[in-house]
């Protein structure tokens, strides 16, 4: 077994008759930017829900920074940050009010200072006293990200972070992910169905199909074996069936 920051062992999730995730075993090392690739409905969000302690698995387990997701969910929550897909936050509250709330919930001792520092890091200090309801999708995404990194988590989970963003927004997000990884040493677990995103941002890649992990390698090795984006896309299409199915979330 490798010394991974995220250690997943035979993780499964079942919704009634639908087996959304089947015996997933995977390890992500500290400092990696892991891209979790799969069709819509492949089981990516369900996996992230289990890893972020939002839903208990129906089988198997996982450890994050040594904490078991089912036995010690509170300790897991202390070391993770999460940005759901299409994050919106409280739209009648200002950025400051939203972030102060989450900072306090995360047990940060000097929340005001941390909120300012975080917004500065994200080049978003100008948003601080504006209501979130007035924001574009890109701005909301940045506040959503700020919320997730306030407590400087060891692992950051991002669910389809580029969904609905314009090319400018996507580029900005990509740069931020790299800075979070470099400056804070955060390990990043990113769900996406866009192969181009993985190629540009990630250091390792896993491909999920119908709830089963069908490919896992470092980005370097994958590019070495399969070449650039285009070839990677061919690889992806060859190992995953055209119609994704099976996932409820």
């Amino acid at each position: 077994m490798t010394d991974g920051l995220i250690e997943i062992q035979n993780l499964s999730q079942r919704f009634g008759k639908v087996q959304a995730v089947r015996g997933l075993t995977l390890s992500v090392n500290r400092g990696e930017v892991f891209g979790f690739l799969g069709h819509n409905g492949a089981g990516k969000t369900t996996t992230v829900h289990m890893l972020t302690t939002l839903a208990p698995p129906s089988g198997g387990t996982a450890r994050i920074a040594g904490h078991d997701i089912t036995k010690d969910p509170l300790s897991v929550r202390r070391v993770i940050g999460y940005v759901p897909e299409n994050v919106r936050l409280y739209d009648t509250l200002t950025t400051r009010e939203n972030l102060m709330f989450f900072a306090r919930l995360s047990g940060i001792s000097a929340p005001e200072r941390r909120v300012n520092e975080t917004l500065e890091f994200l080049d978003s200090s100008h948003l601080i006293d504006r209501r979130v309801g007035e924001f574009s999708k890109g701005m909301r995404q940045r506040v959503g990200l700020a919320q997730a990194i306030l407590h400087r988590p060891e692992v950051l989970f991002l669910d389809e972070p580029t969904s609905g963003l314009d090319p400018m927004g996507i580029k900005m997000l990509r740069d931020l992910i790299k800075r979070l990884n470099n400056d804070f040493g955060m390990t990043i677990f990113m769900n996406t169905h866009l192969i181009s995103e993985i190629a540009k941002t990630c250091t390792s890649i896993g491909v999920l199909s119908q709830g089963t992990l069908v490919y896992h390698d470092t980005m370097e090795s994958a590019v070495r074996k399969y070449g650039d984006d285009t070839s990677l896309e061919e690889l992806y299409l060859s190992i995953t069936p055209v119609t994704g199915q099976g996932e409820a979330a």
Partner: protein
């Protein structure tokens, strides 16, 4: 590494109260409730002074024709009963306002998509439940405090109505009772907003419950006419004296919590008609206590079992 937020329920409650204050519907209903409390005080005063004036006119007439003038009927009425309409407004608008507040406390989290984020913060679901229940308790307390200030001022400003120490005690007993009654509906709304898939069902389930206990059950256990629910006196009229209504009163009575509330309110505000008896299998106070405990249990259970992966509602 950061400390574990021991005060998570407090943080949740504080944020919820702040957010709810900006919800226009909550503000609208709360304002309506306060206005009606004012109207209730005015109505009690105005109707009583009209009767007083009619009495003065009638006394002149009766003296003129040489008849003895009977005692002023107003003097037979306890000053507390001046506020009897409050019991109706609590059971109508107060309960509905509590439902809307309870619903919004959860719906605001679900609609803004923060439920999954809250689920990944280092706190238990019980802490979340305690925070939301504390927020509900605070908001309703604020509403009740405004109502109490208005009522107390009425008694202090109108010298013709004075309360004894016992009277003040009963008045505050009434506010406590009203608070618990409203909170009960708020708690049910917390539960349905947390568990329902659809936004309108989440709101309409507690409203349907409220309609049932306010207008339907009393027609089986007390006054058989549903609109009697809007009149504090006729709401307490007994059901016909037959075995059928004895049995419905006995068996349905425990579920007829609006009636239990009105019965206790009438006792506290001194307008319980002489000879009024509660026919229910359970005494009104015990009935409300059980219902309150059940609502609190339901809310805690529903919030602790809330699916934290869940986001916005369906239609």
């Amino acid at each position: 590494m950061h400390s574990f937020p021991r005060s998570a329920p407090l943080i949740i409650a504080g944020q919820s109260v702040l957010y709810i204050f900006r919800e226009r519907t909550v503000a609208m209903l709360s304002a309506l409730f306060v206005v009606l409390v004012l109207i209730s005080a005015y109505l009690g005063w105005s109707a009583t002074s009209t009767v007083n004036a009619i009495y003065a006119d009638a006394a002149v007439y009766l003296k003129g024709i040489g008849q003895t003038v009977p005692a002023n009927p107003v003097l037979d009425i306890s000053p507390l009963s001046l506020l009897r309409n409050m019991s109706i407004y609590v059971s109508l608008i107060g309960a509905l306002a509590a439902i809307v507040i309870g619903y919004q406390l959860i719906a605001s989290d679900r609609k803004s998509g923060v439920v999954p984020i809250l689920g990944t913060r280092p706190m238990t679901k019980l802490a979340y439940a305690r925070g939301k229940i504390a927020a509900l308790a605070t908001l309703l307390a604020a509403l009740m405090a405004v109502a109490a200030v208005i009522s107390v001022s009425t008694f202090l400003l109108l010298p013709q109505f004075t309360l004894s120490a016992h009277g003040w005690l009963k008045l505050f007993g009434f506010f406590g009772l009203s608070y618990a009654y409203m909170a009960m509906f708020g708690l049910v709304a917390l539960a349905t907003a947390a568990q329902s898939r659809s936004e309108s069902v989440g709101l309409l389930l507690p409203v349907t419950l409220w309609l049932t206990v306010t207008f339907i059950l009393p027609s089986l256990t007390s006054n058989i006419h549903p609109t009697a629910a809007i009149n504090p006196i006729s709401a307490l009229a007994p059901a016909p004296d037959t075995p059928f209504f004895h049995w419905t009163g006995y068996l349905v009575g425990p579920f007829s919590i609006a009636e239990s509330f009105k019965y206790l309110s009438a006792g506290l505000l001194d307008f319980l008609p002489p000879g009024a008896v509660a026919r229910s299998a359970i005494s009104p106070l015990a009935d409300l206590a059980i219902a309150f405990a059940a609502a609190a249990g339901l809310a805690t259970l529903a919030l602790c079992r809330m699916d934290m992966t869940r986001g916005d509602y369906n239609v």
